[in-house]
Symmetry: C2
Subunit: 232 residues, 2 copies
DNA sequence: AACTTTATATGTTTTTTAGCATAACATACT
DNA sequence: AGTATGTTATGCTAAAAAACATATAAAGTT
């Protein structure tokens, strides 16, 4: 059976949902998956279309977003390598409630819905892992809802920087966020216009809270940034 | 074994998650539940405290909310009779990420976490029902995130009125929303100050979109209200 | 019934943020 | 290299919503 490194990591990685499946179950997924490469900027799923099944990100970075009032984009969350997304696709036939696109070159593994559902129906242990993931997503969304509605621009930008760092980690220097988003994406992640995102980042750089080198962002004063994020 | 009408409906109702459990499984829940009555306004769960387990609302109405920046309340969702909530309590030991309180007199059934988890571990069918509920919650939160951040005040109030109607239904006249929230709760549900909620409702009444009789709110022009909600 | 307390209503001011305009800069393309 | 295109940066203006200030009405309390 053909295995590429992506489906391989999807099935075997230490923190993968599927690592404890039986050989039989893994073979089912192997038989019913599809690997696809997306260039930076390409759309992986479009809001309203029917999704094939669960998504696994073998490499790269993705954004999950919705288009709201007047075509304005709101990023709901960012996906990282070795992460799963689209649990909701598994449990209803309704079209995707959001779009997904590649923020960097991405290797995506699509796992077909029905074979996976069959496995779930006979594997409560796996179900528990799924539910834990989903429950964490609910908690994340609850927190995000309050942050994005209540915090002021500075608080939202601070939170976004910390979120990006916590999601993607830093370079060995411990400061440089391992993500090169456009200012526009940062704005859409923080629920504000691009100019306000740029302005706020510039101010924070002037205050030595962060350092800006193009799209490389460094967190210089973590304590203060957290403080700004917490106070809103 | 003692059964009150609330645990009864929790186990047997046509659309209850538990209706298809075996007699044995139902008995476990029966043995490990706790019924409690809450007066209007009383707190059922406080953010940060450890929750006992899953919640079932036998009667009444609840609000699920968080306290954000500067003590400002944001209502995340409203619960209705025969509804379950707090799925996230089941899958991690972390303290409750939100508070729950009674908007009307409520009969709440608490179902203990560990016995229910044991049932889930052996009942993938039940797991699937849980996952479907959770996936709907995720979709709801995604939509809400975009609405609350992007829509203007009028759009948010319109959405809240429609949401309340869809959640709690109407009186036989088909117009009167079966929920008597304070203006403050309506404001916190719509992410705005109380005065802005009052003002906007007054305006909508003046435009004959709705009719106000104290806390009784009637939707007079559904089409226009949906239009206002959609356009933001 | 008189008195608190709380909820609703509405006008005014101030703050925040979006919207717009323009410039500098970087990147991709031919 | 030169041109087009997109991104980042910054100032200015307008709109939206919060904050504040009272007034009125309703609901509880003694």
């Amino acid at each position: 059976m053909y295995r590429n490194q992506y489906i391989e990591s999807c099935l075997e990685n230490q923190n993968s949902l599927f690592k404890n499946l039986t050989q039989k179950e893994k073979e089912v997924i192997l038989l019913h998956h599809f690997h696809s490469f997306f260039k930076k900027g390409e759309q992986i799923i479009e809001e309203g279309e029917k999704a094939r099944g669960l998504l696994y990100l073998g490499s790269g970075k993705i954004k999950i977003f919705k288009i709201g009032v007047g075509g304005r984009e709101q990023i709901l969350s960012m996906g990282r390598q070795y992460g799963f997304m689209g649990f909701n696709y598994m449990f209803s036939d309704s079209p995707s409630p959001f779009s997904v696109s590649a923020v960097e070159d991405c290797d995506v593994v699509f796992i077909d819905k029905n074979p996976l559902l069959k496995i779930l129906k006979k594997n409560a242990e796996l179900c528990l892992l799924f539910m834990k993931e989903m429950s964490e997503e609910i908690i994340f969304l609850n927190n995000r809802l309050v942050s994005l509605t209540q915090k002021h621009i500075r608080g939202r930008i601070a939170e976004t920087l910390l979120l990006l760092r916590d999601t993607y980690g830093t370079e060995p220097d411990g400061k440089t966020i391992r993500a090169m988003l456009s200012r526009e994406d940062i704005a859409h992640l923080s629920n504000m216009t691009t100019s306000n995102a740029i302005r706020t980042l510039s101010n924070m750089a002037a205050e030595k809270l962060i350092q800006i080198e193009g799209r490389r962002l460094m967190i210089l004063n973590n304590t203060k940034l957290e403080h700004i994020s917490d106070l809103g």
